[in-house]
């Protein structure tokens, strides 16, 4: 399993709350398949409060993908919704939860963001 994925979930667990998910509740399991092996992450969301574990439990929504791709999504190098449309990531169960959780992934590390014309970066 990639370090970035680990860091991403550890960070969520540490924060314990995500305002972007304040209206969201549900369980999302991420199954990372590599060869015959599958690693699991279970994200429980209760009105923005987050709990992370590595249990293989039943969930409202289950995402399946490769550890490498999820590492790239966790660092903003790949885009979750595009990966879903491509079929590189699959979803079972309530698709709404994926669309909501996708927003908490970081943007591209190379993104410049809006540039103010005369004074550089926008605050």
């Amino acid at each position: 399993m990639g370090d970035a994925t680990m860091r991403f979930f550890e960070d969520l667990d540490r924060r314990g709350y995500e305002p972007l998910l304040a209206k969201t509740s549900g369980t999302l399991r991420i199954d990372l398949h590599e060869g015959a092996q599958t690693r699991h992450w279970l994200l429980t969301i209760d009105h923005g409060r987050l709990n992370v574990s590595q249990e293989d439990r039943e969930a409202d929504t289950v995402i399946g993908t490769s550890p490498a791709l999820f590492d790239d999504i966790a660092t903003g190098r790949e885009h979750g919704l595009a990966a879903l449309l491509r079929g590189d990531m699959t979803v079972m169960g309530d698709a709404r939860l994926v669309v909501q959780v996708e927003r908490i992934f970081p943007g591209s590390p190379d993104a410049l963001g809006p540039r103010r014309r005369f004074s550089g970066e926008v605050d």
Binding site: P19, H79, L84, A95, G107, R117, F118, D123
Partner: protein
């Protein structure tokens, strides 16, 4: 794109565009086909009898989701002596179903070879629109005993068309065939089902929840009847207004779209068929137009746009935190990031308009719960206006795309490349600040202040927003006012120089309320004056400007939706006669299109052409053109929520006779409005 003799039916974003025989033979210039989730699933669908093509006697568009074709063998001649009739009846509702009936009218039995040729190029909608089909993946065809599977694979991206028949058929890689024998007066029929699948690695379809209304024909029929029954009734003395309203209502039903992330609720898609997806700007403006009639659309639109609000910086998608999306797509080019629509955020008006719609929706519905539910998103939208949108640092909303490859250059509603110019016709550099967007920002702050004070319990934020709005208004009236011409400039360039052309955008400024009262009359004169007003409506760009062209997409044509907001703006500042003049012109034009207003029509003077000249575009009906008659009705009847009840202050032109709108829904329950034409427009023009 051509659109000669094409028939369209649809359900959500599954639709069929075909010839008047029901056949599909896609070519780059004739973009026919069966489409779903922004992908073409059939590019060939040709029915033959004994090797002969069929000829159309007639066809019916029964409802937006079904059609029927009456055909005979042989090519068209001036005399047809057919011993056979072929009826094709088809419907879309999730999948595509076609029922074929063949009748033998001869006194002798016949032996027939019936064949349907089927193929698909699996083109992405963007490739179809741009006429480029250059597939990077592999197209395959698998013949099974009871079905034909046409497929396309690129990595894990798999799309399949599965064709099966109720009557056993012979399948081959290019279609299916039947050999039949018909006695005199005997008939034969079969039902062909065409499934469109987005296949995931586990064999699951990724579109769970994407479907819009039910999938069965009867469910679709009931859904449409309920939709009409739930909406207010409009009666008019001359019948024309009422029939235009009814046309609009049915088209709005067809335009409903249910996105993946909202579990079945619907919002208005932008246009049929090529824009059956969510667009921030188009969906919001359509909701504003239709609020008095179909308020449920606003609620779902606000929710879905909030759920997909930008949360980070993404230069490819022009995404910023707080920004409301521009367009979402599901096809191959979005999936492989050859186009940025997953979703794309490159518009600057959707974000302030999101706050405007939330406030307007509450004023009508009294739905305080939604205002509270969307507080965080509204605050993020208001923050975006002052931070990431202000690319020059002088308090205006500016745009300059960061995706310089596939992003949009002009991120306002006039989004064609040459829509923003100086009066000498040259184009300004970026970033650009168009005037109407500053008006929306002003309105968003004023309305945001009301929401903060009344519902979010934050009077300090309300005071701050009101202060900012007042400052913006003052600054705007100084920087954008063209002193010589006495109107507002279309835009500013980054040095502060005015794009000093006279344009329809000034009407949106009246709607937003950013116009100083003493200047409003001058704007009203321009809007119904000879340079902008043709007799049918207000041109996008005034006659006499360097880039003016009566059939220039954003440089001289008349856009019905644009006019509906202009009329609303005129009414807001008390120019009821001018508003009625525009409303009357546009509703007159609608009668030339059977009540279905096009996206745009030519800016020729009315007395010159006598009828409105349609601008050739591929989309009809288009959501904000469909919403136009509804907003014009609201404007003419002066419908306005006021302290918990509905105020009615009609100002109708004389020729319009009596109009009644019954059962207008809102926080008051349901009320009726009546009006009689009293304004003499002839007198006004003297």
């Amino acid at each position: 794109m051509g659109q000669s003799n094409t028939i369209r039916i649809l359900d959500g974003n599954t639709f069929v565009v075909c010839e008047d025989t029901g056949d599909i033979e896609a070519t780059p210039s004739e973009p026919t086909g069966l489409f779903s989730i922004d992908t073409r699933f059939l590019s060939t669908w040709v029915l033959t009898v004994n090797g002969e093509r069929l000829n159309s006697l007639s066809f019916d568009d029964l409802q937006y989701f079904e059609s029927r074709f009456f055909l005979v063998p042989g090519v068209a001649t001036h005399y047809i002596d057919a011993k056979l009739s072929i009826i094709r009846e088809r419907a879309v509702g999730g999948s595509f179903r076609e029922q074929i009936t063949i009748l033998n009218h001869d006194e002798k039995p016949v032996d027939l070879e019936i064949r349907m040729d089927a193929a698909s190029d699996f083109a992405d909608l963007f490739q179809v629109k741009d006429e480029i089909v250059n597939k990077k993946g592999e197209i395959y065809s698998e013949v099974e005993a009871d079905r034909l599977r046409l497929g396309y694979r690129r990595g894990n991206f798999v799309r399949e068309t599965v064709i099966s028949s109720s009557v056993p058929a012979r399948y081959d890689s290019k279609g299916l065939a039947y050999t039949i024998h018909l006695e005199p007066n005997e008939q034969w029929n079969t039902a062909i089902e065409v499934g469109t699948h987005a296949v995931g690695p586990a064999g699951r379809d990724l579109r769970i929840g994407l479907r819009s209304h039910g999938t069965e024909r009867l469910a679709l029929q009931h859904d449409l009847e309920k939709w009409i029954a739930d909406a207010p009734k409009v009666n008019s003395e001359h019948g024309r207004v009422a029939s235009t309203y009814r046309r609009s209502l049915i088209d709005l039903a067809a335009l409903r779209f249910s996105p993946l992330s909202l579990g079945g609720a619907t919002l208005p898609a932008a246009g049929l068929p090529w824009f059956m997806t969510m667009f921030g700007r188009d969906s919001i403006l359509t909701c504003l137009q239709t609020l008095p009639f179909t308020p449920q659309l606003s609620k779902t639109t606000l929710r879905i746009l909030a759920a997909l609000q930008g949360s980070r910086f993404d230069d490819f998608r022009d995404e910023d935190p707080g920004r409301i999306l521009h367009e979402m797509r599901y096809g191959e080019t979005a999936a492989f990031e050859e186009q940025p629509h997953s979703p794309y955020y490159g518009s600057v008006d959707a974000t302030p308009l999101f706050v405007v719609l939330l406030d307007e929706y509450e004023r009508w519905s009294g739905d305080v719960a939604l205002v509270k539910e969307l507080e965080q998103e509204s605050r993020a939208a208001l923050r975006w206006i002052d931070t990431y949108a202000d690319l020059v640092g002088n308090g205006y909303i500016w745009y300059e795309r960061r995706n310089t490859d596939t992003g949009l250059e002009n991120q306002c509603w006039k989004d064609s490349w040459d829509s923003i110019s100086y009066s000498d016709g040259t184009l300004p550099p970026f970033p650009r600040a168009t005037c109407e967007v500053q008006g929306y920002a002003y309105d968003a702050k004023v309305r945001g202040a009301r929401l903060a004070r009344e519902f979010w319990g934050d009077p300090e934020f309300a005071d701050q927003l009101e202060r900012e709005a007042a400052e913006l208004k003052q600054r705007f009236n100084q920087d954008f006012w063209v002193t010589d011409g006495e109107y507002y400039a279309l835009a500013l360039d980054p040095t502060g120089r005015q794009c000093d052309v006279l344009s329809s955008n000034i009407g949106h400024l009246l709607w937003s309320g950013i116009v100083d009262h003493e200047r409003a009359e001058k704007l009203a004169q321009h809007l119904v004056g000879p340079r902008l007003f043709t007799g049918w409506g207000v041109r996008t760009l005034a006659e006499g400007e360097a880039r003016y062209n009566p059939i220039g997409y954003h440089n001289g044509t008349i856009w019905p939706f644009d006019n509906s907001f202009i009329a609303w703006g005129l009414r807001r500042y008390g120019f009821a006669e001018e508003a009625a003049t525009i409303a009357s012109g546009i509703l007159d034009a609608a009668t030339y299109f059977d009540g279905r207003l096009p996206e745009a029509f030519g800016g020729y003077p009315r007395e010159l052409t006598k009828f409105p000249v349609e601008y050739p575009t591929a989309c009809s009906p288009q959501a904000w053109s469909t919403g136009t008659p509804l907003l014009l009705l609201r404007t003419m009847l002066g419908l306005e929520p006021h302290e918990g009840h509905l105020a009615v202050e009609p100002r109708l032109p004389m020729g319009m006779g009596r109009i009644e709108v019954l059962d207008i829904p809102g926080r008051w329950g349901r009320v009726d409005a009546f009006a009689r034409g009293r304004i003499d427009l002839e007198k006004l023009s003297d």
